[in-house]
């Protein structure tokens, strides 16, 4: 059974600092996604990572994928308050379109 774990679950950081969120998954997957959820809102797609070594960047967020380690990272550079949200990774088992979500990381950026 495919399982997805994220850490940390909660992250409080100062503006201007850097940090990394980790997403581990248990079995082979051919697609990994990162989503953002603001309080009381639905999920918004951030990145799609498809191959080993893939790296995507948007503003202060950069996501990478290591399929051999079954690990994805979401790196935050020089955090700003607007990045405060919950971030989820999701993985599809090989050959399927069933998405399994991680536990989520609740990020709070302090001014």
């Amino acid at each position: 059974e495919l399982k997805v774990e994220q850490n940390p679950l909660f992250l409080s950081m100062q503006e201007g600092k850097n940090y990394t969120i980790y997403c581990n998954y248990s079995t082979t997957s051919d697609r990994l996604y990162w989503y953002r959820q603001d309080p009381g809102k639905s999920l918004e797609s951030l990145f799609v990572l498809l191959s080993n070594g893939a790296v995507k960047q948007e503003g202060r967020l950069m996501a990478s994928l290591d399929t051999k380690a079954r690990l994805s990272t979401l790196h935050i550079t020089a955090a700003v308050h607007d990045l405060s949200a919950t971030y989820f990774c999701a993985v599809t088992a090989s050959g399927t379109y069933k998405y399994i979500f991680g536990t989520g990381t609740r990020l709070k950026v302090l001014a």
């Binding site: 989503y35 999920l43 797609s45 989820f88 999701a90 379109y97 998405y99 399994i100």
Partner: protein, 114 residues
Amino acid sequence: GAGVSQSPSNKVTEKGKDVELRCDPISGHTALYWYRQRLGQGLEFLIYFQGNSAPDKSGLPSDRFSAERTGESVSTLTIQRTQQEDSAVYLCASSPGQGSQPQHFGDGTRLSIL
């Protein structure tokens, strides 16, 4: 419509009543998903429809939960004899069911069981 549409946006009902939640996916999306999100928690997979294939119901928590989908359009999630632990936000998502495009989520139905 342009996005995934869910209704109602909020539903308050008494314990023991049945509820029906509706999801209208993006036109052309063959895959449709239901998730449950309890307050402050992650997304719990419930059920997944892909085209005309048999749905993957492996996430439905009990036989009080059922879902149907008409072709590749509207889906309804039904919860019978609701319990207080059913209180949650129920999210629907759709995707093309091929390629690598991400899921698109609706705004959810917030269900409160009194």
